[in-house]
Symmetry: D3
Subunit: 339 residues, 6 copies
Amino acid sequence: MRVTTFGEVMLRLTTPRRERFNQARALEMTFGGAEANVAVSLAILGDEATFVTRLPKNDIAEACIQELRGLGVNTRAILRGGDRIGVYYLEAGASQRGTTVTYDRAGSAITTLDPSEIDWPALLAGNDWFHFTGITPALSDAAAQATRDALKAARALGVTVSCDLNYRKKLWSPAQAQATMSQLMPMVDYCIANEEDAEKVFGIKAEGAEIEQGRIDHDRYIEVAAALTKKFGLKGVAIALRESFSASRNGWSGLFYKDGQACFSRRYEIDVVDRVGAGDAFGAGFIHSSGLKRTPQQIVEFAAAASCLKHSIFGDYNRVGRSEIEALLGGDGSGRVQR
Amino acid sequence: MRVTTFGEVMLRLTTPRRERFNQARALEMTFGGAEANVAVSLAILGDEATFVTRLPKNDIAEACIQELRGLGVNTRAILRGGDRIGVYYLEAGASQRGTTVTYDRAGSAITTLDPSEIDWPALLAGNDWFHFTGITPALSDAAAQATRDALKAARALGVTVSCDLNYRKKLWSPAQAQATMSQLMPMVDYCIANEEDAEKVFGIKAEGAEIEQGRIDHDRYIEVAAALTKKFGLKGVAIALRESFSASRNGWSGLFYKDGQACFSRRYEIDVVDRVGAGDAFGAGFIHSSGLKRTPQQIVEFAAAASCLKHSIFGDYNRVGRSEIEALLGGDGSGRVQR
Amino acid sequence: MRVTTFGEVMLRLTTPRRERFNQARALEMTFGGAEANVAVSLAILGDEATFVTRLPKNDIAEACIQELRGLGVNTRAILRGGDRIGVYYLEAGASQRGTTVTYDRAGSAITTLDPSEIDWPALLAGNDWFHFTGITPALSDAAAQATRDALKAARALGVTVSCDLNYRKKLWSPAQAQATMSQLMPMVDYCIANEEDAEKVFGIKAEGAEIEQGRIDHDRYIEVAAALTKKFGLKGVAIALRESFSASRNGWSGLFYKDGQACFSRRYEIDVVDRVGAGDAFGAGFIHSSGLKRTPQQIVEFAAAASCLKHSIFGDYNRVGRSEIEALLGGDGSGRVQR
Amino acid sequence: MRVTTFGEVMLRLTTPRRERFNQARALEMTFGGAEANVAVSLAILGDEATFVTRLPKNDIAEACIQELRGLGVNTRAILRGGDRIGVYYLEAGASQRGTTVTYDRAGSAITTLDPSEIDWPALLAGNDWFHFTGITPALSDAAAQATRDALKAARALGVTVSCDLNYRKKLWSPAQAQATMSQLMPMVDYCIANEEDAEKVFGIKAEGAEIEQGRIDHDRYIEVAAALTKKFGLKGVAIALRESFSASRNGWSGLFYKDGQACFSRRYEIDVVDRVGAGDAFGAGFIHSSGLKRTPQQIVEFAAAASCLKHSIFGDYNRVGRSEIEALLGGDGSGRVQR
Amino acid sequence: MRVTTFGEVMLRLTTPRRERFNQARALEMTFGGAEANVAVSLAILGDEATFVTRLPKNDIAEACIQELRGLGVNTRAILRGGDRIGVYYLEAGASQRGTTVTYDRAGSAITTLDPSEIDWPALLAGNDWFHFTGITPALSDAAAQATRDALKAARALGVTVSCDLNYRKKLWSPAQAQATMSQLMPMVDYCIANEEDAEKVFGIKAEGAEIEQGRIDHDRYIEVAAALTKKFGLKGVAIALRESFSASRNGWSGLFYKDGQACFSRRYEIDVVDRVGAGDAFGAGFIHSSGLKRTPQQIVEFAAAASCLKHSIFGDYNRVGRSEIEALLGGDGSGRVQR
Amino acid sequence: MRVTTFGEVMLRLTTPRRERFNQARALEMTFGGAEANVAVSLAILGDEATFVTRLPKNDIAEACIQELRGLGVNTRAILRGGDRIGVYYLEAGASQRGTTVTYDRAGSAITTLDPSEIDWPALLAGNDWFHFTGITPALSDAAAQATRDALKAARALGVTVSCDLNYRKKLWSPAQAQATMSQLMPMVDYCIANEEDAEKVFGIKAEGAEIEQGRIDHDRYIEVAAALTKKFGLKGVAIALRESFSASRNGWSGLFYKDGQACFSRRYEIDVVDRVGAGDAFGAGFIHSSGLKRTPQQIVEFAAAASCLKHSIFGDYNRVGRSEIEALLGGDGSGRVQR
């Protein structure tokens, strides 16, 4: 399947060994961003994945592109220019101490792009799928405009569109998010979300859901999915369900709501190595499996298994192959040694 | 609040990645010691914390002082002289393999101090609180004498005094401990202890308590606290309650016994990163919260939450701010990502 | 006790911090191999352990021998020659992602040895025990011949012989294994195995056992042990029982079947640091304890405790002393700090 | 001596082991900036050094402040606010490959300060010396205004002022630099510069100087110093003279021109560990020694020796004490072991 | 320019920090091999570089391919199959201690390829240049046959061919080398060599050359180049001239002999970070510059400058861009900081 | 040759990458001490080397013994007991910044040994050589007594004795050194020294020698050697001649004075990786080569070459084999790659 994603990729600087910033003498250097993460996952799964972004002409951006290209992502559509690559600092938590993320992404190259620089009809021609998240239009007016242009081109070309709501309160207010996203959602086929996103962006809140306590109430999530579907005429809604017992231990499963049916995946008990990017891994699993025309149940199982494995891998990218996901789907979550 | 602590700070050399000593090629270099740990916690929590010790004039001691000063501790009262900084080697355990500590602290600078060098009345003037642990008087006669002098000055100045019993069998015998500590305790307001301490130092043992099995029997701990209170006319006793399931997993909570009332904190299930210094973090939380004139229940909850978070941080020092403790107190122990 | 083991020792290259191979910039360098691991454990436990293998004349092999010698293993019987030391690449898993092992051992020095180079009667004279695993005869015809020669010499000298079946599907087929091992087993006193081994090598399968699900069905294992005992006239069979909940968490216990009696050890819940070599640690614990003429129950408890602790140590070797095992046997699995 | 410096401090991210950015998996985390570097040097040399800047309220800035405080710098005047701490990426060169610096400092907290927030008369009261570099006024109009305010206050209070020209072509053009700096220089007592600075900022170029070839032509530098002195009525000019043979080897010496006399220091042949910050170390040595009322020759010797040693230390800060500088001044540049 | 190279790429395992093997606890993991190194250099310089080899289907080979792809090399023609990736262990020397290389490449995937698997005419169609070294035909008969096939196809298509003699005594004897290489050389246009190669492979030895002493005698090298040219009707011969003063310091320059003219490059004094791959960087510089139709003097200067910079970079690959080489050619070898 | 050495071995803690102590977050962990270093060198060179010391019963000492045993040293005569292993902290210098050593060895296990515990006649029976340095008798009266006992036993058994003066001003005064060493020297056959030692211990100073400037004046050293020989009736004196240009670059050579003849070795220009232990490597080379009955010129050449190579190796131990030394002696100091 040919898939294009559009968004920002940042330098991620992580304190080693779950250290606090004032203990660290070095920072682990990786790269990541919601849409880049999806592109990497898809490339590893065997799809033809193109990632569109804008990056400055410097050595750090070069290193980022090299890694993406090495992982199989088509990087030829990446625009070069602007002043800086966005940065985010990550201090991985443990036990009761949560992971903290400090963004330093203002003024990054993608925020100052000229939307007319991207010829979306040419870029998306021959594509099967286009994916973005709510982060991209939140970055700047230019980025929002480019997203709109992309969606229009995708619609015109019959390319399937998915959007992960990904609400980020540091980028925009709920009101701003709603104003912009409400324009975009009618051009979207599949929405990926969590309950908090739906509430923050569209005021859709299931009664009584208590995500703080880590309990999953299936009915509430079905309500949210149904409301989103109805509001925007979506083909389906996929929701990743995280139960945060602590920074070290999570429960994890997924829901795919389509045609009035709600399919819940198997639930995993996870010892967390790195949970950042797990939502993107879920989205990528969803897209990949959808491309294979699997049943809704198969799709959500694949998405949940792929993203379950992401938790065991350092960095934003889900460096997991199809055979590993299929082994987990086939029932082997025992972590036995593969000799 | 202005607080002064007095004791030894050592170079801590930890094998990396839970390695055994005969695997290690490098040792992590941090510093710590019961009273220094308390001072650091208090400084981070916003108190004016002064740490009194004696350190030699060499580069290792200099590095230790620089770190303390950087963390906000007032280091101006540290005496310089003597031959060496004490050292302790730490091999962090995992699962059923316990953490091992090898002390090499004999002859350290603090043990050979001249008690008359410290002008306690001047040092403690204007202070609200003085804290020490049972380790300091165990170090040498000179250190014991300096501790006595400090307590007398504190009494005279109306400074509140807390003592963490902290019995160390490699430093002295129960008989020696009892002889010395019995003299000091009447000048103490608040005692911090664990059951083993109370038994070893004062022969106070609750019937039937079985800490080896990791079960916490609330009644037994209340008995111990009551006995300590009565014996020394204390204002209160705080006890940290650890349930050691393995080196990787612990239960953790606290008790504050005051005015005949026993307040138990919430209990935490912890994935241990580094448990050394957790008792000191408990003591610091207790002192800080006491200084804020909170209720006994609030005090023990604050102390337990602060020290719960310590388990997630490498090194002796509890690098945790008030807002993080308050978030945990407010119910968020989910370890969710803070973006 | 004087014990000799015979087999291959390899360079083990492990990705650091559970990284995937395409993330790693360095590989941890240790050494290991089933029979070398047993020799190291025995040397640390105080036995006179001699390890026989063949290694090339190069710096990597030299480093391997130095480490073995440092750990107390007698390395004087190691033959030098051949082209290469075998290598195995290890990517440690986490949570649902299993550990993967990639072997690169073809053509290693031991596979091209000349069996006549080893004077087994001289080597084994004065020995109490000889140990090998099913890996050694699988390496090459020459290695199989040398194993046969060793067993004949051991028999002639009255040396007790143990064999860990250790079936490796990448080295030979079940048919090949059966053909070779069936010749050797009659010269064996004690067999160490897991159920999968017994099935793959000898077609001995207990009905209904479901190791994939991690459940341990005691009766099934007794059946397997009884069948093995009967088939080859063994003195006893020891089986390590692993319950793989995930790559991070395992249950662990052991069975020793002797004289028609089945003794099961205590069961441990383990947070896994490194599970490779745990079976060898079990074997070494079994051999060491057998040499002390303990009861079958004591023997299996010692073997299980020794190998339980192995899971907490990085690398193939079980760097655990007798006092630590005895403390665990004595009931202290709490992982408390040993000051 | 009481000294205040004003400028930006950045997070410095250095590739380890002289790696290129596309090889690095981690970046060394230190902090630095011209005026902060001077403050640290002075604090280590025993002066009361205050550093004024503006930093955001986040964990990275906190870590920066902690390190400065630990090193003895007074950080109480640091303003907190703004969006980000500036970043600079450093790839250390070797042999013929030069070190590269990639700045990402636009929009940092200091650039958006409100000049009226700083009460310079209060801050500088009681100070002996104020130091800044040409970087600060280049950062933003607000920073330039704050610099002007500082100089006016210093003048009014009789505080000696030094300025290191430090021309940075990525921050402003020569024309911009000249316009701004020409206003400030009349309020400066001592100028620290290199020939390139003088030419770029003020068009002062000695005839025939060929710094590209690494040769030092003393007469040319005297010309430049004399011209600067004359143009702005300076009390003196200090110039650090670098001969860049390669990224690994440099020649290093200094010139202090005062009262029509030119004093050149001893010349050092240096094996470079880290040359960034050497100019600042020279400036700090100059200031410290000037404060001690030494002769011009003594002053330039001290400055050159201090900054010579800086080249042997990783990071921007010159972690060198007075006794080490004096030993080098006393003739011991042999690098012998100090036992 | 479109260039294809053919040869082996290996896993390179380097002891960190110039440690000896018996000190190392980890090995740096990079990849390299003469022809892969050339392909990487060319890709970074902007040529379309295709690398042909055979690699097994495992994670280590995958990581190797990902890195090559990331660096811009076309990896689509890489065959997948065989048992193992070749390995070489490297202990970097210092001062008088030379670097040691231990090869473990026997039986690697490329040695067991089926020459008929590669459709050279299709692969080389449209190419401008084909490059190989004397290592490839030395690996196995199959590899030698594939090389012959490649050269025939190149000839037929009019593709320019270059060969770096690269004699490796551990792969074949001089007699074997001569027998094979004498067949191949008539199909080669440009030969890259060092004097030792020419002597070992073809018995061409200049009188009196004394490379052991590190002195370069220009006349001798011209003799060798002339003899090689004459013997095989070459278009030209390029020779890299190393002066090994120690493992830390080398002199470096190049010679290009063409049309009876000998052009020597500028000579560099180098502080060595990593000299492995410098000869390949020289070859790549030669090929790239030849493709630009530069003069012989320009070609040898470019090749020498490119490979001079290689010495400053860890790993086999010359991670250096055209602008950096041109800056060095332009006279800036001063290693000054590029801000 | 069978050789025994007697002295202290310490834990050496080195800041990584030439960092200052206040930058370090970890310390490299190795072991070393003058006499242990000699024993290791001799074992690697093929002699039967026994090292006698006293070490406490803890994990750090265990790790030390394991490494010595691994390197081939006979450790069976090491006494176990006492409180601590001595420690020394090392900050490696660079360029003009010298290496600093901070000792923390007071009260180490060897200082509190009971001389009667060592049965020297039994230990030295069958030995060819006994070696100690001036450090051992300086440690404590008990250590001095044990040294005396050893020398008496050696004399009685006809074992050759060598002593490296190794004056350490932090252990004793010149007067103390002279008093003790004057008793011991008459029992010594060969003295190893540097000029400073001879002057400090015995007041033997050559006129005009100026080692501070790094120049070697051959005549002065011959004078010193002759004076030492005469004073104590020695068979010969060996002196290592260091020229300290900087911490990064040294000149190095040796002198062996015997029978009125002075043999100077070749002189090496060294890029220093780690110079600590070079003197011990010289001593070991001297002893080993003496044992082979080489000529004085051969002996000093071997000693100088062995110790030249030591400078390229991290840690105290000279991990260099005979073939490497012989290659250097044979003229290859070019540091070329050994493939």
